[in-house]
Subunit: 530 residues, 2 copies
């Protein structure tokens, strides 16, 4: 039983001075990173505009200090010393902790200083260029910057090295990037999942829209004051299990969740008075991320030997698994009939503004309307993954050298037409819409769809253990859902790599069947298409 073994090991292995020093050093780095997290959170929430130059100085100083420690020879010596200690290795949790420390240290030390600096400087300028290009619909002005970012990112991938091919799955340069966000994932394997998913999803949404009946969604277009939206959103996430004494919910321009530190998980959202569902599902989404953060084994007393703050076992395992938690709460829970059976009377009471005139069933159906749109972040459950798969294919081709930057808009628009059936009107609503590439975040996009696939697979497994989960949700009982994920995922930190975690939870490799079955049943039902 991992939780017990973690505690035992931590106590027993207190006997190793190297392991103790190692954990102290990692704790120090964690304090620095959590301070960086606060600097960032404050910048997005409350910092006055004129403070941004000094903030950049504070962040860069602290990031430098943290990086210095994370790549220090002392850290390398300590990890090596512990790896050579058979007593430490014999404990499963300690062995996993050391495996992941080695991974982090190697990743951090593989990049030469000049590349790290070049990436920081180029992506910072590329972001400005991207902002400008998006505003002016001027891809040509961004193209040279994307070229530079790609060149540096390819160099980064080469420093990491192409991972070994395993189990008959070939590997490629792109995998070295992917691995940063989704350890041990492989592009070829993802392609095997995505190719049929793309075809089925594309046909499915077309079918819904041609044969089905679009529900009326007037109830999501009521005008509702932000204070009411805030109160309702906070009420719902507390009912879902968010601990407000160990977290916050604030308003920002670009919502995010920051697992800042033990006892301190910060969610953010953005209110649009003409469409309350934007903030509502955004809040539930960030709560999903927050549920993972609040479930990590770092929230007990800091000097409790079970507290893993700073250690790999105290951190989330991958972006895909993280996203599974946010998409699960947002969509599988928050867009379910059972959820609205419970939530609707509370919405009447807290939102008012005419929502009383609609039934729970009306709201359930309205929040499941699908519509092809150009913008990923506004996409619904039917279309979202199509946006992702488009990006995955194009960025992979760019890293491979199969797609030149100048050909990106054409490739984007052609593929979009094939998937969505509509012409992209301009690059601002096409290949210039996302910030990721200007940041150098390549290999990141597929984790969004992996998250959706994981969420549906995990939910199937959950239903085997909690067959009456819908009845529970109708009564507003979300604790069993949260506990199940706490137990299956959160408390383990990085103990099991994503692929293994998935097998432990579902008994099988990741598959697209649960997602297709879930969407087919729910959206098919809403649209009257079987």
């Amino acid at each position: 039983m991992p939780a017990a073994s973690i505690a035992d090991a931590a106590t027993a292995q207190g006997a190793s001075p190297a392991y103790r020093e190692l954990k102290e050093l990692l704790r120090e780095i964690a304090h620095m990173r959590s301070t960086l997290g606060l600097l960032q959170w404050d910048q997005e929430t409350y910092m006055p505009a004129a403070g941004s130059a000094a903030r950049a100085g504070q962040k860069s100083l602290l990031a430098g200090l943290a990086h210095e420690r994370a790549t220090s020879p002392r850290l390398g010596e300590l990890i090596a010393a512990c790896e050579g200690d058979a007593a430490l290795r014999s404990d499963e949790a300690t062995a996993a902790n050391l495996r992941e420390m080695r991974r982090d240290y190697d990743l951090a030390t593989k990049l030469p200083g000049d590349l790290v600096r070049a990436l920081a400087e180029t992506t910072s300028r590329a972001q400005d260029a991207w902002k400008h290009a998006r505003e002016k619909n001027d891809f040509a002005s961004f193209a040279p910057w994307l070229d530079k970012v790609l060149t540096l990112t390819r160099r980064k991938a080469e420093c990491y090295g192409v991972p070994a091919a395993t189990g008959g799955v070939p590997s490629e340069l792109y995998d070295a990037l992917l691995d940063e966000y989704e350890p041990s994932a492989r592009a070829a394997e993802i392609e095997t999942l995505f190719r049929p998913l793309e075809a089925r999803l594309s046909a499915f949404v077309k079918d819904l829209r041609t044969r089905g009946t679009r529900p009326d969604d007037a109830c999501v277009k009521l005008n509702i004051a932000r204070e009411k939206q805030h109160a309702f959103g906070q009420f719902v996430i507390e009912k879902c299990g968010f601990r407000m004494n160990a977290g916050r919910l604030d308003e920002v321009t670009h919502p995010f969740c920051e697992g800042l530190a033990p006892g301190d998980t910060r969610l953010t959202t953005r209110y649009r008075e003409s469409r309350w569902t934007d903030a509502f599902f955004g809040t539930l989404h960030e709560y999903g991320h927050g549920s993972y953060e609040q479930g990590l084994p770092i929230h007990m007393e800091l000097d409790d030997p079970r507290n893993r703050f700073g250690e790999p076992l105290g951190h989330a395992v991958s972006l895909g698994i993280h996203e599974s938690q946010s998409r699960m709460w947002e969509n599988i829970v928050g867009r379910s009939r059972a959820f609205w059976q419970w939530a609707k009377p509370h919405a009447d009471r807290m939102l008012g503004s005419g929502i009383e005139r609609f039934s729970a069933e009306d709201v359930f159906r309205a929040v499941n309307v699908i519509e092809p749109g150009f913008i990923r972040v506004e996409a619904d459950e039917g279309y979202y993954n199509l946006h992702i798969m488009l990006r995955f294919a194009l960025e992979r081709a760019m890293i491979r050298g199969d797609l030149a930057v100048r050909d990106l808009p054409g490739a984007w628009n052609e593929r979009f037409k094939a998937l969505f059936g509509v012409d992209v009107p301009d690059d601002t609503r096409g290949c210039l819409q996302d910030v990721h590439w200007s940041f150098g975040l390549i290999g990141y996009f597929p984790t969004y769809t992996l998250g959706n696939l994981y969420a549906a697979s995990f939910w199937n497994a959950l239903k085997r253990d909690l067959p009456d989960v819908d009845a529970k949700m109708e009564r507003g009982e979300f604790a069993p859902v949260l506990s199940w994920f706490n137990d299956k995922i959160h408390r383990h930190g990085r103990m099991y790599p994503p692929r293994e975690l998935c097998r432990r939870i579902t008994g099988a490799d990741l598959s697209t069947e649960p997602l297709m079955a879930y969407l087919g049943a729910k959206l098919g039902g809403v649209y009257g298409v079987s």
Copy 2:
């Protein structure tokens, strides 16, 4: 003209590699301290309760890193190298900068590590003991902690060393503590100011209350929602010159002003719905501190050679001068007839709630009611300094060894009766009311009254330059007042020690006459006592 000479020197002295490295090191320390400032601000404003243990870890790590650098041998070498450079010394601003760097470095390195740690640990525990003792009115349980704090504080003073006697003024151990907060101040000199001030003030307030007519203050007891109070307070400080794009105003339990970083000055306040003047004058008070912070030469571009962020010339010169700014805006401006002539229609519009029924003159008179009370932080302009002089005399006696901790309550109560004419009912409302001593803040209290004395003296000087200041304030024109203080005080940072700054501004040494004359005219007028 100092401003020009500062810029010239910074440019010219860029030629000295040691001076350049020195400034870089100080800038780094400043970034660390401003990050610490944010950690503290966030803790008081928005941090969830469960985050406090991790916050302590973050703060202690960062404080340690900053201290390490501020006491590093390298810093000492660089200062010494620059002190030996005649070209650097020949510039007035650079010489002042070096003089103050030397002062900071010597103060920081004079304390042995074990004393710093013992002080940190003992005062942290003493604060808990104080909280408990104050709640339970149990001085005996706090006494041993105050004893320990005094012993360590005396040791600290001994490490600093008794300053030299200058100009016929004798010096004593207490001066070493005072010097931390008010550089080059001497207890004997302060006593020379305080003794007659105490007698005159004590007689003055007695006279007002026996011979005068207490104004009606019903208008301060209206019930006003915190949102309205917040909007009005923010409106007024913006009119007084607070730059909201470079600052904030938030609500906390114990209000403070944090000059966080260039472009980032944060004010806080606390709203009491049954007495709107508490928050209003509290906000004006913190704005006064903020006006100093926003006026320091650190808010231009960070790489501008005139930017002094991290250097002594970029920091406020003393607590007394700082307090002069807060008390000036709170009392001399905010409790003036001219101010309310301007502010009253805005209060009607923004506060409403019945205040419309009162005249500007009613409000002016109501906010100048005086009343003897036991609690310093609630004291009015008539009584405030009596509270301070009581504390100064007692803490000085304790450091001298003339007053034992066990005799403190008796001494407090006896002196209080003599000054205020009333019996202290319990230690909670007596010698246990302030947090300062448990923190080891001894030598700090007198700076509050020095601030009041400075404020009145500076205002006299201001009126020579701006004889129509009252007419300006009646029209809501506060920019000339702010500019005057920007020019006379803020932009100089620590260029001139407080005593010299006072002489430059007023043409004379600090005196109690301006304060007595100001209080006599205003409160005498309000009470109808000439």
